[in-house]
């Protein structure tokens, strides 16, 4: 045991100094590699990667702060008391909550985790998670501006987002009635399986000085500590997702998409794939979608607007860090099929 701990300690020390050395040597490493032929790709990758992170950072932080607040301060009894009783009423209410919580998809995943941990029915949590990045005042206003005040597009986006959210919420809520959807084993603590213990390895009622056994109301200090740990948990998935998206944007040419623009089926698939790969913020995606109008079928633009905020590379990685693998797979398949059918339906009616 002692030997094992020593080895782990040594490994830690090696990695620690290696990372610091790389960090301080980075400007010189940069000077060397930027002479290579592929330097332009690295530079482009770096700019896109960091800009996605800078754009998402405030909202992920907000998400982890709110999630920690829910975890530490919101009593499950109070929360469950306020939830609507009926199945569909609950799903519908959850899907419309975005009107009061204008946050986008980066913040919503950690918040949803906090809610599920508190015992909010899974179906409602899923409907909430999927709908909020679309049905919220900021996103709908930007859609309105992007499409030159076309109320039809705004309404269609909101209605389709609502339908997909409650459909997938209903499906997953029923499917996971008696199963636990969250990742139970956290990076911080591989020995403890019960998620109620905050999954970060520290027990509640322990204050910052480490004196155990003095149970008292969690302080602001405690809230910040919890936020820091949650941000560590979520942040690495955000970075991995942003990295994948930036890599796709650096390597894969987008030109081929234009060739299938008028095909009823392929155009929907192509723009959904684009929305997945780009990982745009839902506050900005309407402006990008606008540039496809005319070149792409109406249904494909609608699918882009509905699918993008619900699922993209960044969100998939965030979800995988929060929920179990099979759960994320089912969620992804359901959302994809729902958005695809709506896009095809719109194309059938020549919207």
């Amino acid at each position: 045991m002692q030997v094992q701990r020593m080895a782990a300690r040594q490994h830690d020390a090696w990695s620690f100094w290696l990372l610091l050395l790389l960090l301080f040597g980075a400007p010189w490493i940069g000077k060397l590699i930027l002479r290579a032929g592929w330097a332009g790709y690295l530079q482009g990758f770096s700019m896109i990667f960091i800009s996605i992170l800078l754009e998402a950072l405030p909202f992920v932080l907000l998400g982890t702060l709110v999630s920690s607040w829910i975890h530490l301060y919101l009593s499950a009894d109070v929360l469950l008391h306020w939830l609507p009783r009926g199945h569909w009423l609950g799903l519908g209410t959850a899907a419309l909550l975005g009107v009061f919580f204008p946050v986008c998809e980066c913040a919503i995943v950690p918040i949803t985790r906090g809610l599920v941990r508190k015992g909010v029915p899974l179906g409602m949590a899923v409907a909430f998670m999927l709908a909020v990045p679309i049905i919220n005042p900021i996103v709908l206003a930007s859609t309105y501006y992007a499409f030159n005040g076309a109320w039809g597009v705004v309404l269609l986006r909101a209605i389709c987002g609502f339908l997909v959210a409650i459909f997938v919420g209903d499906y997953l809520g029923t499917r996971y009635k008696d199963a636990y959807p969250l990742r139970t084993v956290s990076f911080y603590d591989t020995t403890r399986g019960d998620d109620d213990s905050c999954s970060h390895g520290h027990t509640h009622g322990v204050n910052s000085t480490g004196r155990e056994g003095i149970a008292r109301a969690p302080s602001v200090w405690h809230l910040l500590q919890h936020t820091s740990e949650e941000f560590f948990d979520v942040g690495r998935y955000l970075i991995a997702g942003a990295g994948l998206s930036a890599m796709l944007q650096t390597i894969v040419p987008r030109q081929w998409l234009a060739l299938v623009g008028q095909n009823n089926l392929l155009s929907v698939v192509a723009l959904m794939a684009l929305a997945y790969g780009l990982s745009l913020c839902s506050e900005a995606d309407a402006f990008i979608a606008r540039t496809f109008v005319g070149q792409f079928s109406g249904g494909s633009v609608l699918a882009f607007l509905v699918f993008g905020p619900m699922l993209d590379i960044k969100a998939t990685l965030l979800l995988l860090g929060t929920f179990s693998g099979p759960f994320v797979r089912r969620l992804a398949v359901a959302v994809t099929l729902a958005a695809l059918s709506l896009g095809l339906l719109a194309n059938a009616f020549h919207l």
């Binding site: 990695s15 770096s46 896109i48 910052s208 500590q225 970075i239």
Partner: protein, 253 residues
Amino acid sequence: MGLLRRLSLGAMLWSIFLSLTVIGISYLSVSRKLVLFLHPHSWWALAPATALLSLLSIVSWRGLHSRHGHNPVGWSHALFFLPLLLALSCPPQMLSPEVISKRGPFGVLPGHALSRSKTHAPLPVFAEGQPIVVNDENFLALMEALWENTDSYIGRSLQMLGFVYEDPSLGATDFVLARLIMTCCAADAEVAGLLCRSPEKSQLTPGQWVTVSGTLDKMPYYNAAMREVVEMPYLQVTEIVPAEKPAQEYIYP
């Protein structure tokens, strides 16, 4: 080393990451290099985020001695340091030509700037016989006007600063004099610009900044997406002057 032995190295790396991120974001905002990553209208969110990050870094510095929650150094830490490493080794600049060329020809085709110019500056009026001078403020409005009323601009002379963008669908003497439009962040930057025709094209390199003067005209252009031939405004170039890149490289609608 005695002190280090008692501290959690993972926790220490975490607080170093948080502090460096705060320093990095502050440096980018003060030096205004942040405009290369983010549209100025989305900067506001970074202020509270940076404040919160500083608080978190203080909290995690104080938590270094805590015995519970051993935080081993692992891939997660490397992942967090990746953006910092990249930021330090690749100085911030506009997207490279190699990457811009992957972003598709959408912006060059009709319908690229439409909605934005409505919330942007009004279309400037240039007197008959006077050259049209394109600048950062009127770029979107003018490009849209050129697409919508191509005929009324034929024969007018125009001057514009932009970078050279090449597309395989264009002829041997054609290139696009382009600007990048940032809606929210560099990840959504799109190419928009004016098609130019010049025998001197072979002397230009993609990404090079030039000031181009010439006369506006139109030509048939096959739009692969629509599978139809459209009327495309273009500039018959009379003069190409190499230029310094502008202080503001992106256009922010």
